[in-house]
């Protein structure tokens, strides 16, 4: 488990660093079309490891710059989702009663609509969506499940003695929620965030492939795949390499999330001596 986590975080770290250093790492300008006839659809070679596309652009460089878009869309959308889900779930769980019932019925309703359909509907209605709005839409539709998990944890944590002790000391509601309960829900949130990033990368790729996501001339991994989609037989490398990157990143995020979940779950930890003889 620990080794998986190590490999996964290593992979993620490499991709993030390369994306950050894109202007220095990328061998070519990702949107330059040096020779639209002579250099078009070149197969992978030493000078173009991922080949070139039909506009003679270097696919490797496009993938490196595309990582910036894909990763930042995923990270920001997940941050929005985590914030909304945590607050919503925490309020429902801590306040309880009728407020909880109403808030959770809303989540139930939202969860009953498939997210992809919802996104396609929103994005199809909105022609040429700016990037920041895409991020907001992805974030705003991604917090329902998390809010349920957070609520369940807050609900059970609310009954613990240290929370009762804080109330007995005279601590106010927000203080109990933010100082005592939420720090203990943090492991769940971190795991959800890690898994969420992988999920949003795939989702954004799917939308961009459908032409609903990132709009040209910006390119994410998903839109690069789409660039090569109509000549997959002739120039397979245009779609293959960004596809591999998506799969690798998503698997790494999921592996890291699973490893974190195991690390935070006390039941997965070894039995201590004290437990053996108590």
């Amino acid at each position: 488990m620990v080794r998986h986590a190590g490999i996964a975080s290593g992979v993620i770290a490499v991709i993030v660093v390369v994306a950050l250093l894109a202007p220095w790492v990328a061998p070519y300008d990702p949107i330059a079309q040096p020779d639209i006839i002579g250099l078009k659809n070149l197969a992978p070679s030493f000078s173009h490891p991922f080949g070139t596309d039909s506009f003679s652009r270097d696919v490797l460089s496009r993938c490196i710059y595309g990582a910036r878009i894909s990763l930042s869309v995923a990270a920001l959308a997940t941050a929005i989702a985590i914030t909304l889900g945590t607050l919503y779930g925490a309020i429902a769980g801590y306040v309880g009663g009728a407020v909880d019932a109403v808030l959770m019925r809303i989540v139930d309703a939202a969860l009953s609509i498939p997210r992809v359909l919802l996104l396609i509907a929103i994005l199809a209605l909105w022609n040429g969506l700016p990037l920041w709005l895409l991020i907001v839409v992805l974030g705003a539709t991604g917090w329902f499940g998390l809010s349920r998990m957070v609520r369940a944890q807050v609900l059970s944590m609310r009954e613990l003695d240290f929370v009762a002790a804080a109330r007995a000391l005279g601590a106010s509601g927000p203080r109990i929620l933010f100082r005592h309960i939420l720090p203990n829900v943090l492991p769940t949130i971190i795991v959800a965030a890690t898994l969420g990033v992988g999920h949003v990368i795939i989702l954004e790729a799917g939308l961009s492939y459908l032409g609903l996501g990132v709009q040209p001339p910006s390119a994410s991994w998903g839109s690069i795949i789409q660039d090569g989609a109509d000549q997959i037989g002739a120039a397979w490398w245009i779609s293959l390499f960004p596809g591999l990157l998506i799969v690798t990143t998503a698997i790494a995020c999921n592996a890291l999330g699973d490893a974190l979940r195991a690390a935070f779950d006390p039941r997965e930890n070894a039995v201590t001596m004290a437990e053996l003889d108590s």
Partner: protein
């Protein structure tokens, strides 16, 4: 004299974590004769529960029973048996009951099915016969309407009732030895009285021996014939029950008895044993109790005390046995920690 039913000798169960070794059970020896009740008394960290699990070979890695250990049961060396042979003994000739009956019962099977399953695993009884024996056993444990109860699930029963079910499950094959690990600790005192009475009655009816693991000296006085006191993974005192209560020899036993608040008299202030049980990864040199002992002197730091004979069937792991005058001397604790367990 015939061989004892169970003979544990020099049992060492260590837990290995890289370089660190936790010596949870460290050279424990005692016997249990047929039909008798032996109590193993100790606090958390004394190694009493690990001892019980070791007898049934239920120690899982990183725990390991070290090679020089010996556990003889009905003339067979349990540590030499194959896993398959061990399974024919476990639940059959030696049974065990635990402190928390809810976690020891399967929530999705009826209690009757669970008892019948034990019968079917170890005998070739038919499904119907096994069920009948389960009902019979439930009746024997004093459960009213046993036939109806057998079809209920664990969550439908109260804590005391579940403990009866667990006892029925343990005793359905009439084992020669029952290991009871804190069987009444989770129960209320009036239910505890019922369960202790039940265990004693069944012991007489079935003629089995009982190895009772407990921290409660009151329970010991009720049911035990002989007592083994454990501290720091070792036996520190061994005696018949009456002898132990009338003339405890080891300072730890003495301390335990005086630290207990009593129902029948009210002391102004409880006597305490200062400090805490040291971790099993770092037992003190010499006597393992010396840091907390008010008699300790230099010999205790350097020389690990053996189990000295101090009377008829009575042994104590304390140098006071050979230097009794030190007991009468006015003494100050070796380390002064007023009431603190830090």
């Amino acid at each position: 004299m015939t061989d004892p039913l169970l003979s544990v000798s020099d049992l060492r169960t260590y837990f290995h974590d890289g370089e660190v070794v936790a010596r949870a059970v460290d050279g424990v020896s005692f016997d249990v004769a047929e039909g008798e009740t032996v109590a193993v008394v100790g606090e958390s960290g004394s190694g009493k529960s690990v001892t019980a699990l070791s007898i049934l070979r239920l120690i899982r890695p990183p725990g390991r029973i070290e090679t020089a250990s010996s556990i003889r049961f009905q003339g067979r060396e349990l540590l030499q048996l194959s896993d398959g042979e061990m399974r024919t003994i476990r639940g059959n000739r030696i049974a065990m009951i635990f402190q928390e009956p809810m976690s020891a019962l399967n929530p999705v099977l009826t209690v009757g099915e669970q008892i019948a399953e034990v019968v079917r695993v170890h005998t070739d009884a038919s499904r119907h016969d096994a069920w009948e024996r389960a009902v019979e056993m439930l009746a024997l444990t004093g459960i009213s309407a046993p036939r109806e109860r057998a079809s209920e699930y664990p969550h439908q029963l109260s804590g005391g009732m579940r403990q009866r079910v667990m006892i029925a499950m343990a005793l359905v094959l009439k084992p020669a030895l029952l290991i009871a690990d804190e069987p009444t600790t989770a129960l209320d005192v009036t239910i505890q009285a019922q369960i202790l009475e039940l265990l004693q009655r069944l012991q007489e009816q079935l003629g089995m021996a009982v190895l009772l693991i407990t921290h409660d000296l009151g329970v010991v006085a009720e049911v035990a014939d002989r007592v083994v006191v454990m501290y720091g993974g070792e036996v520190v005192e061994r005696a018949t029950m009456t002898e132990l209560f009338e003339a405890p020899q080891h300072p730890y036993t003495e301390g335990l008895m005086s630290a207990m608040p009593r129902l029948d008299r009210d002391a102004e202030r409880l006597v305490t044993i200062p400090g805490v049980v040291p971790p099993s990864t770092a037992w003190p040199s010499g006597c393992r109790f010396r840091d907390r002992c008010s008699y300790a002197w230099d010999r205790c730091a350097t020389e690990h005390p053996p189990l000295y004979p101090v009377g008829d069937e009575h042994e104590s792991r304390c140098h006071l046995a050979v230097e009794p005058l030190r007991r009468s001397e006015s003494h100050t604790p070796l380390t002064v920690r007023v009431g603190a367990d830090s």
